[in-house]
């Protein structure tokens, strides 16, 4: 073998060797699958929802009953059998669940995050963090069952006119469910605050309380807000707990009025499940209304996720 051959052999470019190409393309395809998923979600939801509305249905070549966009967005009645598809009652119920769960989870979540990041000893942290993970790991249908069977009767002893299915206990369990999410994202933001800021605070004579509330929380505010938005978007998309606990009667309620939490209502996700637990015939208007709600839900959660991302990025304090 001449030296030329040897050099060539040793400096072979391996980047485009068949083995490398093959593995690289496999990995690339895996990564692209996520884009395919998103695209198919968007295409599927929009085409099926387009078949639902009377404005767009002719474009899709669909004949048969349709619903008008205006009626869908402003209607106050959701009765499948009468083909009344007003989404407002569903949205109001979803909003009520979101607000109710926010009242439970946001303060508790932030307090947990402050405790874990500022006060807890390493040993306490190592016990509390897995316990919080368990909180998020319990299936949502189980939470729904807890709400109906244990929490509602317990609340009934305090509030006698509480319905069997009500928004109050549904909101409470959804709130408990999303505490870990608020806590872990906020805690990440708080631990990212550099120690020098805390030390500066102590140097000025601040107490631990002053440092936590006056320095750490403001410094990690963007992370805390993004955790709020993510957790609320999770609450909006939460399905089984509200399906089991909130009842199946669509009614328009005022989410800001505490009295409306005493009765049941039908959030968007629960409406979708109810549509399918009844007999679903592929291609009917009820089937397409499913995708119309799905699209509404997808757009709301997507926008919230993007906002959360932007908040976290734009307002992040760089240290």
């Amino acid at each position: 073998m001449s030296t030329d051959d040897l050099t060539q052999d040793l400096t072979r470019r391996t980047e485009n060797a068949p083995q490398e190409l093959l593995t690289r393309s496999f990995f690339f395809l895996c990564a692209v699958l996520s884009i395919v998923t998103t695209l198919s979600i968007i295409v599927l939801l929009t085409t099926e929802a387009a078949k639902f509305f009377s404005v767009t249905a002719p474009l899709m070549g669909v004949e048969g009953p349709t619903a008008s966009v205006v009626d869908f967005l402003t209607g106050t009645e959701w009765v499948i059998n009468n083909e009344q598809f007003g989404v407002l009652p569903l949205v109001s119920a979803t909003l009520a669940i979101t607000i109710g769960s926010a009242v439970v989870s946001l303060p508790l979540g932030v307090a947990t995050a402050i405790y874990l990041s500022e006060y807890a000893t390493p040993r306490a942290r190592s016990l509390l963090k897995p316990a919080l993970e368990v909180l998020a790991g319990v299936p949502t249908v189980v939470y729904g069952f807890f709400a109906v069977v244990y929490i509602t009767p317990a609340l009934k002893t305090i509030i006698p006119n509480l319905g069997t299915f009500n928004m109050l206990s549904a909101s409470i369990v959804v709130g408990i469910m999303i505490i870990p999410m608020v806590a872990s994202i906020s805690e990440d933001a708080m631990s990212a605050v550099p120690d020098s800021l805390r030390q500066a605070g102590y140097g000025m004579g601040a107490t631990k309380f002053d440092v936590s509330v006056g320095i750490v929380v403001p410094a990690s505010l963007s992370g805390i807000f993004s955790s709020f938005i993510l957790a609320l978007s999770r609450a909006i998309g939460e399905t089984m707990a509200v399906t089991v606990a909130a009842g199946s009667q669509a009614n328009l309620l005022n989410p800001l009025n505490p009295a409306s939490y005493l009765e049941g209502a039908l959030p968007m996700t629960a409406a979708m499940v109810n549509l399918l637990t009844g007999d679903i015939t592929g291609g009917g208007i009820a089937y397409r209304s499913l995708f119309a709600i799905g699209l509404t839900l997808f757009v709301i959660t997507l926008v919230m996720n993007i906002i959360s991302d932007l908040v976290a990025q734009r307002y992040r304090e760089e240290y």
């Binding site: 068949p18 093959l22 996520s34 599927l44 939801l45 368990v134 109906v148 929490i151 107490t207 309380f209």
Partner: protein, 532 residues
């Protein structure tokens, strides 16, 4: 102001009250969710297991044989030798969790897959792998593509021909022997690897043979104690051998922790002695809803007779399908993003896209499954395959994100060292990065699988039946799942008897499975983090 006068009399006084109150408020807030869940869990466990319906004598017997000895030995060990205490606890925990999973696996072989079919596929896979290894060894000078095509042909031929050929044989060995070879042998090889790593190659053969003998004995010993050969073999292979191997390996490495065995012996012995004593004295146990009948019977219109069997089988099949789909795809995507991806727009887009996908509600994934798999691809509704595919898509973002974290934790210096030795990128990933990141990837995947097991909404969306009376036996048969069954009981059959009997029992079984999966993941992660 003091400074204006030029003198400072004192530093003043800072009240501690606000800080203390704040601290305890925070602690209370942290504990709120945990305590609330614990209380609910106690309630549901009480409703499902009904410990108070047992005879006082039953409680007394177990108090004497199990609880008091365990407490005494445990407290003594905990004070004198915490390492042994943990070791003893780990043995009991491993045995409990692995027995549970062994039950699931045994169920697979009893009702879903014929042992001979399984054996045939394992054999086909072995032959295929053997063929590939031979080709690789034959001549490294052959062009890669030739080797690749040859390997592909061998794998295909072996997988297409061998299973059919084996299952069509007129006579084959008994199920016990088949399972010993097809389930016991792989486990024996794993045990052998560990032994070889710890004690050198010479012990390996002994370990492999010992494992096979232990597993093989199941088929003969099982019937003597009233267990048919198939579950006996599986339990030995999946539960007893790993636990025993773990205990023996640990003791050989840290002989001073022997005392931990005492704790395990007291707990296991106490349980057996207690059970025998209760039986002999005629004390009735609790009238638990979670009993053998509940675990092995199908749904029924009356709550007391309703069971979870088809749902458990469905959940197992779904878990296998989801793991098979999401693990390679998720890890592949993570490897691409961490190891290959150039920093360009497409990469950033994929990045943002994955974190958004993680936030898409599960019902929407259900709609995706319904629309794409059922309506457009024309699959029938509610099958194992589309259920698994939908759940796999659902957890894919979670798997990708956790796998990326694990890959990122591999130090760059190791990659550089590998490149410095002349390895290509794929060789570096295969030999250096993936082995090192594997425990982290596994942890993330187990947690994600736990999420998939608990999901109900996507299954409802793709039209999984609410009530199923038989186990799914193929990828194309209808599937039910534990949470789906619980939902059906809690909504469609909503009535007092179901709320008090079937639903709590279902919830308890579901939670035991999920919590043990979570604890496996957490133990793995702690071990992995302390190793680094």
């Amino acid at each position: 102001m003091a400074t204006e006068r030029g003198t400072i009399e004192s530093f003043g006084h800072v009240s501690r009250t606000a800080g203390t109150v704040f601290r305890y408020l925070l602690l209370a807030a942290t504990l709120f969710g945990i305590v609330a869940l614990t209380v609910l869990l106690i309630y549901v466990a009480n409703d499902a297991i009904r410990p108070l319906t047992a005879d006082p004598g039953w409680h007394l017997t177990f108090l004497l044989t199990l609880v008091l000895p365990t407490l005494a030995v445990g407290a003594y060990l905990f004070r004198t030798d915490p390492a042994s205490f943990r070791f003893g606890g780990a043995i009991v925990g491993t045995l409990a969790v692995s027995t549970m999973f062994a039950g699931g696996v045994a169920m697979l072989f009893v009702d879903i897959v014929e042992p001979v079919t399984w054996f045939a596929y394992v054999l086909a896979l072995c032959l295929a792998l053997g063929g590939v290894v031979v080709i690789e060894r034959l001549d490294r000078r052959l062009p890669f593509l030739v080797r690749f095509v040859a390997a592909g042909v061998i794998v295909l031929v072996s997988l297409l021909v061998v299973p059919g050929a084996v299952t069509s044989l007129p006579v084959y060995p008994s199920d016990g022997v088949l399972l010993t070879l097809s389930v016991g042998a792989p486990i024996a090889l794993v045990v052998g690897r560990y032994v070889a790593a710890a004690d050198g190659r010479r012990r390996r053969v002994a370990a492999v043979v010992a494992t096979l003998v232990v597993v093989g004995l199941g088929a003969f010993v099982g019937p003597l104690v009233g267990v048919t050969p198939v579950p006996a073999t599986v339990v030995l292979a999946v539960a007893v051998v790993p636990t025993g191997g773990y205990a023996i390996g640990r003791i050989r490495r840290n002989p001073e922790r022997r005392a931990g065995l005492g704790l395990a012996a007291v707990i296991l012995g106490g349980t057996v002695v207690g059970a025998v004593a209760v039986d002999a004295l005629g004390f009735a146990g609790p009238q638990s809803w979670v009993d053998w009948g509940f675990l092995t019977s199908a749904h029924s219109g009356t709550a007391a007779n309703a069971g979870l069997y088809p749902a458990i089988g469905g959940s197992i099949l779904l878990m296998v399908t989801v793991a098979a789909l999401s693990f390679p795809l998720g890890v592949g995507a993570a490897v691409y993003l961490e190891e290959y991806a150039p920093d360009n727009r497409l990469t950033r887009f994929i990045d943002v896209n994955i974190s958004n996908l993680a936030g898409v509600p599960s019902v929407v994934y259900g709609l995706l499954g319904l629309g794409v798999f059922v309506t457009y691809l024309g699959q029938s509704t509610g099958t194992v395959l589309i259920g698994g595919a939908t759940l796999a898509l659902l957890i894919l973002p979670i798997v990708i994100i956790s796998a990326r974290e694990a890959l990122r934790s591999v130090p760059d210096s190791m990659r550089q060292a590998s490149y410095g030795m002349g390895a290509t990128r794929w060789q570096t990933i295969k030999n250096v990065v993936l082995p090192r990141a594997f425990p982290g990837i596994l942890t993330g995947t187990i947690l994600a699988l736990g999420r998939a097991i608990g999901e109900t909404a996507p299954l409802i969306m793709i039209g999984a039946p609410n009530v199923l009376f038989s186990l799914p036996t193929a990828l194309s048969s209808k599937v039910s799942a534990m949470p789906l069954q619980v939902y059906a009981w809690a909504s469609l059959f909503a009535s007092e008897p179901f709320y008090q009997a079937a639903v709590p029992a279902g919830v308890v079984v579901l939670l035991i499975v999920l919590l043990s999966m979570n604890s496996i993941a957490i133990v793995l992660r702690n071990k992995y983090q302390s190793d680094q």
